[in-house]
Each structure stands twice: as C-alpha cells, then as structure tokens.
Symmetry: C2
Subunit: 319 residues, 2 copies
Amino acid sequence: MSLPPEFSLIARHFLPLAGEGALALSDDAAVLDVPAGQLVLSADAMVAGVHFLPDDPPETIGRKLLRVNLSDLAAMGAAPLGYLMTAALPKGTTPEWLDAFTAGLAQDQAEFGLAVLGGDTVSTPGPLTLSLTILGTVPKGEALLRRGARPGDEIWVSGTIGDGALGLRAARGTLADDGFLADRYRVPRPRLALGLALRGVARAAMDISDGLVQDCGHLCRLAACGAEVEAGALPLSDGARAALAADPALLPLILTGGDDYELLFAVAPEDAARAAEAGKASGTPVTRVGRFVAGASEVTALGAGGSPISLPRGGWSHF
Amino acid sequence: MSLPPEFSLIARHFLPLAGEGALALSDDAAVLDVPAGQLVLSADAMVAGVHFLPDDPPETIGRKLLRVNLSDLAAMGAAPLGYLMTAALPKGTTPEWLDAFTAGLAQDQAEFGLAVLGGDTVSTPGPLTLSLTILGTVPKGEALLRRGARPGDEIWVSGTIGDGALGLRAARGTLADDGFLADRYRVPRPRLALGLALRGVARAAMDISDGLVQDCGHLCRLAACGAEVEAGALPLSDGARAALAADPALLPLILTGGDDYELLFAVAPEDAARAAEAGKASGTPVTRVGRFVAGASEVTALGAGGSPISLPRGGWSHF
C-alpha cells in the first residue's frame, strides 16, 4: 500500500524535526515524561499577509513563529521543553519551500534545545496559516507573571525597542535599512536566559509583542496603577537611531509598534542592581526606561523636558 | 486606556472557557501543575470548506475539533487534562457566531471535564482556520500505541463504521438522512472511557479518522503484517444500513471514508473476552471485524463468500 501524500510529506519534512516522546510522529499523540516543576504552555497563530509577509524567506517564517512562542516562555521565566505545530498549506506549496521552512525550524531547534512533539498538516484554499503550541517548565511557584507591579517600581526592558516595527517598514521597502531592521522583524530574539535570571528579581514581566506602550498598559491594568516611560531612555539599535534621526516623526512608532519580542519587567527600586546583574549574567542588555506610578491605568510617554508625547494609537492589535 | 478589540473579544468569548492554570488568559502562558504519569499531547487543525462545511452550525464546529482531539487521547488510553486553541477568524465574524461557537465548546468542556488553558485569536483574509492542542495524562508506560499488532490478532472497532463519510453526504444534501448521519459527521463521539478500559487489553490502537482501511493499513505497516476485514462483520448504524440497502455501491465508502472517530484496535485471540468486557464496562459497543495476517502490509476487505472487495482508493487524506 503506497503512502498517501500527507504521510510522505510528514515523513520527508517533519519527521527529521521530531523529538523524544514524539513516537516518530507515527501515533495519534506524543507521550512525554515531564520533568519536575510546573508546565508552562502557550499558543500563537500566524497568517501570511497578516503576521508576516507572504514573500518572507521561508527559512524565517517558521523560526519567527517558534521564536514568538519561545519569547512567551522567556517572559514567564520558563525553559523550553518541546512544541506542536499545525500548518495549513496553500495549494501549490512546493517541497522546496517546505525544505527551507523546516530547515529554519531545525536550526532554531538546535539553538534553543527543543524539538517537535506532534502536529498536523492540512491544505487550505486561503493563505498559509501556522499555529504553534509550546511547552516549557518552571520550578513550582517561580513563574514570572504579568501581575505584581507596584507604584514606584521601575520599568525595565531588554535589548532594543522599535526594531520590529521599523523592520516591517524596512522589509516592505519603505524604510532605508542595511538588513538589520528587517532581520529583527523576521527573526525575534527570545530572551530565555534573561527570563531565567529574572526569576525572583522581577515583580512582573511580559514580552513586548503589541508595542511597548500597549503592553506596559497590560501590566498597569493588572496592577491598578499607571506608568511613565521616558522616550529619551529607550534603548535603540544603531538602525533605529539612524531612522529616527532621519525622521523624528518615527518616535511614536517606536513606542507603540509591535513585534519587539523584548522582555518588559517591573523591578522594585531596591532590586535595580539585581536586575542589572541578571542582564549581565544572561548576556542580555537591560535598561531602565521609566516607572510605575499611582493613578489610573494609563501609560504616558515623556519626551525631552518631561512633556507628554502624543501617541496616535494605543498599540497594535494582532486581531 | 480602552481595551483594543482583541482583548475584549477574548474577555467576552474565551475567558468563560478558561480553566485552572490559564491565569484568566491574562499572561503570556498558562502555568499548570501536572498530575502523576506521562503527558499525552496531540494537535489538529481544521479549515472551513476542507474539514467542515462553512455553513455547519457554529455550535458544532468547535465541538468537532475538540472531539477529534479527544478521540486522539482516547486512542492512546489517556484522560483529558486541558487544551489550547488558536482561531484565525475571517473578517466579518460576528459576536453572535462566536457566542454559538464557544457555547458548543462550553458544553463539551462540561461533558468531558477539561477547559481552555490558552490560545490565540487572529484575523485572516482566508477561511476560518482552527487549531487545537490537547493535553492528557496516562499512567507511565500504559499508553496505547499504534505499534504492537501481530499476525493472528483480531481487529476490533468501537461503535459503528461509515457514519462520518455518509454523514458528510447527508450534510451536503446528497444522501437521505433523518439527521442522525449528519450529526455523526459534525459531532464525533470520542471513546474516552473505552480507551481507558483497553489499557493492558489492546495490543495496538488508533482512532479511525482517514477511513477504516487506510487506518488499519497504518497498524499493518508498523507491525509489518497484513489485515483482512470482513465487510459483513462491520457494525453499521440503522442510518448506514438503510443507506447501504438503498445503494449497495456505498460499501467502499463505508470501508474507506473518513471521519469515523471510532477506535480501531488489535486484540490477541486469547484476550477477546477481555476486549468485549472493556466495551461493556465502558458502555461502548465493540465488534470484531477481522484479523491481522502474515504477509505484506496490505488491507484486504472481504465480501460475501470471502471474495475481496475492490476499493477505488486507499482512504482519505486530510492533506
């Protein structure tokens, strides 16, 4: 009995990605021993033309989805365990495209130490649609949560802010770029080592996917307080700095644009040195960019001289 | 700061489905204590127009996806723990549609004892695309696997065969039906209690999603043997029996059509009474329909008098 296309497709493209417990993707489900601690679980979906550009290199598309999910684990202070992925593939998806797509995933599996546990491959008359569920572990009671910030706490971020939103413009060809910004848009850097180092240090944490201002608003609402972000304190990459110098009107985009996938966390003032140390120990730049304040759950961005910057919108909704 | 639409949508429609560990869907991930045993994990995707009819009642669409995944747990002998779901919603999806969609999920969550742990909601210019990852548990080493059948073992199935494929025709209006068959297509019955009862009884098991003959072929390939299925022994519902009486040419469809979501399992001849007892104890009809035989990994369907039935195709590929 010859294998139907679905199974040969899985055997050629996805079996090489399968990890321990995946039963060589032959069964109805994976069976997995669970290490000590608690499970951390997250799922994200991406649609061509909505979350990535249809002509993005196939190597980067799967990596982006995997890294977006790894970023969620990082935000919880969790270590990766494995993932399941479903792919709705448009007619005409070629084996060569899938080879490149899975080669990107294989590269990241090696880098981050996890593997595929299962999934599903279906056809769609619509755009390429990917969904990924990631599993991680954290020692019991030590997960970083979004709740927990208090007025007076400092606001810190990892890496540099705004590269993702600027990178989308660069990838679309509407912003000058030497390739750095577009790469930041296509290939997020999940801050896993920093997340682990922030356990017991950060009072609250999340990753920035919808823009710094909007995501900071989530921390505020859960803490019933406000926040002030100092635009002058934002860590900017050379690429972002150059773009901003050429067009100062890009500042609101840097503050509210999505796809940063940096960590945003609350630190008690007395723990500032520990936060800096966590950055150093994990090899991740960390920067204090503002503070939580008593009052309504609003985020104010302060410009030069401490005057509020007018923001056209609260952030970017993935919906 | 007013909530953007994505968050109000989640709060209205998905928060009521959230279970323990979901952190009220406020965080980047769920945090979950894991019971003893091993984790069992499966993921499936469904696309409107491919896996269900776009005008299927919204109450049944989410239930079907959840039940298809529950059926995977049943096939492994696992008990449900929770699930994550991503939904790519076409523009114009109404709150009323989502209310009905999630009401169906809520009904099944109560029936099967599990809840949402997380997920993602995005928009798509294409058809409604859903992906669900389910988690279950099984005592260590007791999961039912697809591998393990041996020549001489009996082939058993649960429930009735062919209703799903006939039900698709009924739902499309091309087959007479009092509603039973279409309902079987839209709302699979995951055989969870039977799966638990078959631990230590069945030598190999899977659920029938791609048609009895094709799925039996999977058990054969993993066991390096063949199989003979007796068409006369197939358990048929009244609806399927009536359809077959009206058109005997439907027999190949019953043997090869997808969407049964019944369990297919191998039983050593000396364990036949235990298999029957597992069916009785779980309240699930079980029927012996053939046997595994030495030889090439081929599935032969035998008609009246033991002559092979010609099958137009090996089964139905979800891809």
